[in-house]
Symmetry: C2
Subunit: 426 residues, 2 copies
């Protein structure tokens, strides 16, 4: 398509989404659940056909020389298909957030004022190779009464188109508009440019992907986003920490998995307990193959305990999300220095203090300016399922609207409702 054609095509997609969003906003819980369960059943029924289509996408990606991690994300295994279907059933089982009216209070004038939870409207999802996002995102947006425009990576276009047909089948079975979930049919990048700027048709963009994708969307977009760029998560081991808890939690936060955004990237340790807690921890990390990038004080403590192979941390390290078996470690004077370090170098994602001291814990909780702040728990808990949201469309580092793990409620808004009896303002 030419650029002008893409603009017209995307404007058409946007207009149809807006129209469909009106029907979705008034859709009953039963109809939305029927659509979700029908899609789940169709995925199980068509598993073989989906894998065949997916195999063509995978073959093309291999021809283009894409790496093994990419191929892995792109591939639809039996397990991945079952996870998608089960995920839709879980979303169907969640309470419907839409229409809830809360806090209706009478005012002295006689009017009664409260708030009603309503869908955001039209949500654009921009993602890379993972075809499961097509189903997860469509399911969450559908349950929350939104219309969705899905723009997946060009490498998955065959798989995504096949999945979109099943979504349409579910919408039709429930009497919901076909255009409630649309997959962008062109792989031209200009379509993304249009999607993130057509503020009249799209209410929010949820990008799912790497930092470079998201930074580009931030730079070029006009539609608000629910997104996070980095997960530079910290644990601070306080002078009043239970050091056994500290070792167990700091180990888990780094080594349970290296790639997630809620994995710890920098460990801060009070100078009062560094000599006691760092040697056993350093040994665990090195045994698991974690490279340690350390401040000079940490080097002294670890080398005195016989640990070697340390790397000097640079200023850049405190700013870096490794997503790899690498950990930066810094010794700080006290909780004030720890909070200052986190608020300076962190990414406002998730940070945890290990302490038994009530006042120190409460200060950390209040003053660390991050989406999730924890006491005596692993940063790895920052997750929609772990928090009890039931499902997660993403994690937000922003302060406006949704913050932290974003579930169904983050895809909704509150409007004021007023019940009157003919009242006028005087």
């Amino acid at each position: 398509m030419k650029e002008l054609d893409i603009k017209q095509y995307m404007q058409g997609v946007g207009r149809q989404a807006r129209a469909a969003s009106r029907a979705m906003a008034r859709a009953s819980t039963a109809d939305k659940n029927r659509a979700l369960l029908t899609i789940a059943a169709a995925i199980r029924r068509d598993a073989a056909a989906l894998k065949a289509v997916n195999a063509e996408d995978v073959a093309r990606a291999r021809e283009r020389g894409l790496d093994a991690a990419f191929i892995d994300r792109l591939t639809l295994s039996d397990k991945a298909l079952e996870t998608m279907a089960a995920g839709l059933e879980q979303i169907a089982a969640l309470p419907d957030p839409i229409g809830e009216i809360s806090n209706m209070k009478f005012r002295p004038t006689g009017i009664q004022v409260g708030q009603m939870r309503v869908p955001l409207g039209v949500i654009g999802i921009i993602y890379e190779a993972r075809p499961n996002v097509t189903i997860d995102a469509a399911g969450l947006c559908l349950k929350s009464g939104n219309a969705t425009i899905l723009r997946g990576g060009s490498e998955a276009i065959g798989t995504n188109t096949a999945l979109a047909a099943l979504v349409r089948e579910g919408l039709q079975a429930a009497g919901l508009p076909n255009e409630a979930v649309q997959v962008v049919s062109t792989t031209d990048r200009a379509a993304v440019g249009e999607l993130i700027t057509m503020t009249e048709h799209v209410d929010v963009i949820v990008p799912r992907g790497g930092k470079s994708l998201i930074q580009r969307l931030i730079d070029e977009g006009r539609v608000p986003m629910i997104k996070h760029l980095d997960g530079i998560c910290h644990i601070y081991i306080d002078e009043d920490a239970d050091l056994q808890k500290a070792v167990v939690v700091a180990d888990n936060a780094k080594t349970q998995r290296y790639a997630p955004c809620n994995t710890m990237e920098t460990l801060l340790v009070s100078e009062r307990v560094a000599a006691e807690v760092l040697p056993p921890l350093g040994k665990i990390y090195q045994e698991k193959g974690v490279e340690l990038r350390v401040c000079p004080a940490t080097r002294r403590v670890l080398e005195a305990a016989g640990l070697n192979g340390l790397v000097d941390a640079t200023e850049d390290d405190w700013h870096t999300e490794y997503l790899a078996p690498i950990l930066s470690i810094r010794i700080v004077a006290n909780v004030d220095e720890a909070i200052a370090h986190i608020n300076t170098y962190g990414s406002a994602h998730t940070d945890s203090i290990i302490t038994e001291n009530y006042s120190t814990g409460m200060r950390f909780l209040r003053e660390v300016d991050s989406a999730s702040v924890m006491i005596n728990a692993s940063t790895r808990f920052a997750d929609g399922f772990e928090y009890g949201l039931g499902a997660e469309i993403g994690i937000s580092n922003d302060k406006l609207h949704a913050r932290g793990p974003v579930g169904l409620e983050g895809l909704t808004s509150l409007k004021y409702v007023v019940f009157g009896h003919g009242e006028i303002r005087t």
Copy 2:
């Protein structure tokens, strides 16, 4: 200042605001209230001096030939000063939203998860001639634990600088940082450009002013905004309306005041009751000097009742916020047409239905996609004080973050807090 100097100056203001916001986030309720009450007392004490400084601003504005309405907004009367001082005392009396922890629930893993209300951080306020905004906005941001950067109109710079000195006095008396409230000292427009794009230092912009100012900020800004552009508010008189209520409410919504954003601009009437309710309403409007811009069906009904001097409404009228004694009127078939008209031509501000029919009222409530939706009440109630928020920084037409009248809570965010006991993720 040269452009480069302005950029450096604003970056400095931003950095100082960010630093001050850390102290404000942990400020006690008592200290914040002490600051507010000290500023209120200082305004009363220095009323004569403030009026003298303001008189110089007013004289300059007169020399520049600015119109009477502008001069009126710029002028600090004794009443305006007293309203400012009393407003600060009211804000001091409001509950402190910061630090509230809610919904702490145990999860199966043993962690306890909930949310804490925290300040947004740094709020930029951009406004025009009204110097009272300096005090109102500073007071609300201070109470909600935010740092504030105020950029008022160049015509009020003398008055705003004098008011800023009193704010500083209050901050000092409470031991809070001077930079918690900063008034931009240059009147160069480049300062606004910098303020709305320095996303690293400013968390949200609240513009207070006319549509052209706000549209410019939207076009050029990168920092998120809490704002509304238009108030194209509707009343729909349903076929099942109590017509006595309808007349009283529709009169009030248009004629109580013409300039506010929550004044009705378009009246929609069911064709089933138009012949009965429009003639008495049309007569009231014409007696009060309201120009009526009508659809053909409305013209027939009103002319049959002997009313003249009607103007034919054009497509543009349905899109227009008059802010004047002008009203557009359209007869519609039913509530479906009314909802479609409002969602097409409205500005998602405030819309009200007059009906005694439960199902019709509930449909209107759910399907009209506006920040405030009412049944049997005047749109003029859409206001922070009337809704019981205690105070109002503005009204938002957006769906993300705050929607409708925005009080203290709209200047805050929720972060997740996790209480653990050494839990790890497995």
